[in-house]
């Protein structure tokens, strides 16, 4: 029971980051491999405004989230659009990986490698969930992941921006013929995805401290979660996150802490073999 509950809670963090992959994949068929660094950007910007005593905590969080979103939008325009010119152009993969290295080094030089405590946006201590002691901050992040997922599902159905995103996912050429630029939709998706990564970064940094490598360790798990749940469904990350993290935790509890991740990645392989589009995903042409 401990493994299942802790897995469900831990899966929320991975799911939150994986939502960014879904957003960019459905709208532009690309994935931002520098997403890990956007966690760190959100955290460091929030840390930077942490001393503004006149700004309440939600405001500080919002500044970090918006900053990550703006940088994400710029990154899409400058580093994804020029390298994703056709369905078979996959240079965006290299440009986003390159961006990851550049941002990591810039952040390290600017902020140093050591963790810096984020003194707000943290729920301290533990609480009991189904009789199992869980970290309050992890639980809080899991709840945020559910809220963000619900907001994305509702937003994609009931707002004009959401409808545009869905239309672009279905047929970008038709959207283009109707006078809407798929690139503009891509900018919007990258901004939103990076903002979500920034939010995840702030909430996680409040627990473990802000470091340039904050997202590095989360990125692989988040990508695994995206693959398991499906990169074309907003519900996918939640399902994938829950499954992946529960398998990791059960493996860790039963065999050893180092083995958990191995079991989780084995699950990814199983899903790729049985259902390559992910458990809740549907087949789409990728630019790879």
């Amino acid at each position: 029971m401990d493994a299942i509950v802790s897995g469900l809670v831990l899966g929320g963090l991975y799911a939150l980051v994986a939502q960014g992959f879904v957003l960019t994949y459905v709208t532009s068929r690309t994935i931002n491999f520098a997403s890990g660094e956007f966690l760190a950007i959100g955290a460091f910007v929030a840390l930077g405004v942490g001393s503004w005593s006149w700004l309440p905590t939600p405001g500080k969080v919002a500044v970090g989230v918006v900053a990550a979103g703006i940088i994400g939008a710029i990154a899409y325009r400058l580093l994804v659009v020029p390298f994703a010119r056709s369905e078979h152009d996959s240079r965006w993969l290299l440009s986003t990986v390159g961006l990851s290295y550049v941002l990591l080094n810039l952040l390290t030089h600017a902020e140093g490698a050591n963790p810096q405590k984020l003194p707000f946006a943290r729920a301290e201590g533990t609480t009991s969930l189904l009789g199992v002691a869980v970290n309050k901050q992890q639980l809080w992040i899991a709840l945020v992941a559910v809220l963000v997922t619900v907001a994305l599902v509702l937003g994609s159905r009931f707002t004009s921006a959401g409808v545009l995103m869905r239309a672009t996912a279905e047929d970008p050429q038709a959207v283009s013929l109707m006078g809407v630029s798929p690139r503009r939709v891509g900018v919007m998706a990258y901004a939103l995805a990076s903002a979500i990564a920034g939010l995840a970064g702030i909430l996680w940094a409040a627990e473990v401290g802000a470091t340039p490598g904050l997202g590095v360790h989360i990125l692989v798990s988040a990508f695994a979660v995206g693959v398991i749940g499906g990169l074309t469904s907003f519900w996918g990350p939640l399902v994938g996150g829950a499954l992946f993290a529960v398998v990791v935790q059960v493996g860790s509890y039963q065999v050893g802490a180092l083995w958990g991740q191995v079991f989780g990645l084995l699950l990814v392989i199983v899903v790729l073999v049985i259902r390559p589009e992910g458990l809740l995903g549907r087949r789409m042409e990728a630019k790879l």
Binding site: D2, T108, N114, G209, H217, S252, G256, A257
Partner: protein, 394 residues
């Protein structure tokens, strides 16, 4: 054919220069060139920061004392064994340095140990893996100015296993952590005890509840942490508190000083102590930290590494001054074995090395090792020496 012969000769000449064996070299203008290799990039750059900075600090203070012109040649090993190998080859073959300082990470030091020993240059190391030192070598070029993890395990074993405690070990999944767990197991065997559970943590792990749950299931009530980064130590101690594992003691070493108190809450260091042979709260280290702060505008991250590096530079420059020529590597090595003392700030360690003894610290005397913990505010405090703590008076 002639071309082939020339290429073969050139290759052989390059290979010979790479493999070394020569005992003379150095720069023509008499400048002592020390190659500094550490993880400027990669997962643990704090170990590079507190390698290069104390080296610069020590050189600034000691070059005049020994009347030497000293140059530091820095190369990034990227925190990987491969990177360390490339960096050391560059220092030896392209930069032709007179001595090598680093790498500070045990796994990287292990990777380059053979190359440096075969090449024959004075090698100054703060890495604590016991395996990098082979004192049976006829010409041992390694001088370690930190303790090694086998010595640490020997002294902490008595503390860990006191009161018939059931001991569990949490180690980071790297060479440093593996070396730590191996050393504790070896000491347990000597004492006729066994380690009840061993769990590994990946650097930067998001959760360690499974590991602590397994320690709890094994009935562990005394925990040794051999973890590279203070942030990971914080993750482990947080989970210990969260899971309700209430060990009599959690013992670790000074690597905890990097970031732990910054990230952890008071509940996480309640029963936590660490052991070190240096006085980490004394006037001398405070003065060194002040000088460091003045020069670099930041406090030291790993004060013990700062101390080790400054000791290494002092020992090496004393050896060069004694030998009279940094390029006469063998003479420098022998001079280092015979130096009367090593100074770090106001501290002096007499007869630091000898032929067949290139370790600055020994494990024999528990009263020479200090036990530290954190007070309510998270400030470091000395609880007493290990002997006192074992007799219950600290």
């Amino acid at each position: 054919m002639k071309k082939l012969a020339i290429v073969a000769l050139a290759t052989a000449a390059l290979a010979l220069s790479a493999c070394g064996g020569s005992s003379e070299g150095g720069s023509s203008d008499g400048t002592v060139r020390i190659g500094v290799v550490g993880p400027e990039t990669g997962p643990a750059p704090q170990y590079y920061t507190d390698l290069i900075r104390p080296a610069e600090l020590a050189v600034a203070q000691l070059a005049e004392k020994y009347d030497l012109k000293v140059e530091l040649v820095e190369v990034d090993d990227q925190g990987t064994p491969d990177g360390a190998s490339r960096a050391v080859q560059k220092l030896l073959n392209e930069e032709n340095v007179d001595a090598i300082l680093g790498p500070p990470l045990s796994g990287n030091a292990l990777q380059v140990a053979d190359v440096i020993q075969r090449t024959g240059r004075p090698w100054l190391s703060p890495a604590i893996a016991p395996e990098i030192m082979d004192e049976s070598l006829e010409q041992n070029w390694l001088f370690r100015t930190n303790y090694n993890s086998a010595d640490l395990s020997e002294v902490v074993a008595s503390l860990l296993f006191a009161d018939d405690a059931k001991v569990g070990v949490v180690h980071s999944a790297d060479a440093y952590g593996q070396s730590g767990v191996d050393s504790v197991k070896a000491e347990a065997k000597k004492l006729g005890k066994t380690v009840a559970a061993v769990e590994a943590i990946q650097p930067g792990a998001t959760d360690f509840s499974a590991g602590i749950s397994r320690l709890k299931a094994a009935g562990v009530d005394s925990v040794f942490l051999a973890i590279t980064a203070g942030a990971d130590t914080s993750t482990v101690t947080k989970t210990i508190a969260q899971q309700g594992l209430k060990p009599k003691r959690v013992v670790t070493n000074a690597t905890i000083m990097a970031d732990f108190a910054e990230l952890a809450d008071p509940g996480q260091w309640e029963n936590l102590v660490f052991v070190d042979p240096r006085d980490l709260v004394g006037e001398n280290l405070a003065t060194i930290a002040k000088d460091y702060q003045a020069k670099f505008d930041e406090a030291p991250i790993l004060p013990t590494n700062v101390y080790s590096v400054m000791a290494a530079i002092d020992a090496y420059l004393a050896g060069v001054a004694e030998a009279g020529d940094a390029g006469d590597y063998d003479a420098v090595r022998k001079a280092m074995e015979g130096i009367a003392s090593v100074s770090v700030g106001a501290d002096t360690i007499d007869a630091p090395f000898a032929a067949g003894d290139h370790e600055l610290y020994e494990a024999e005397d528990p009263s020479a090792w200090n036990v530290f913990g954190f007070n309510d505010k998270g400030d470091l405090e000395m609880r007493g020496n290990l002997e006192e703590c074992l007799s219950g008076t600290c």
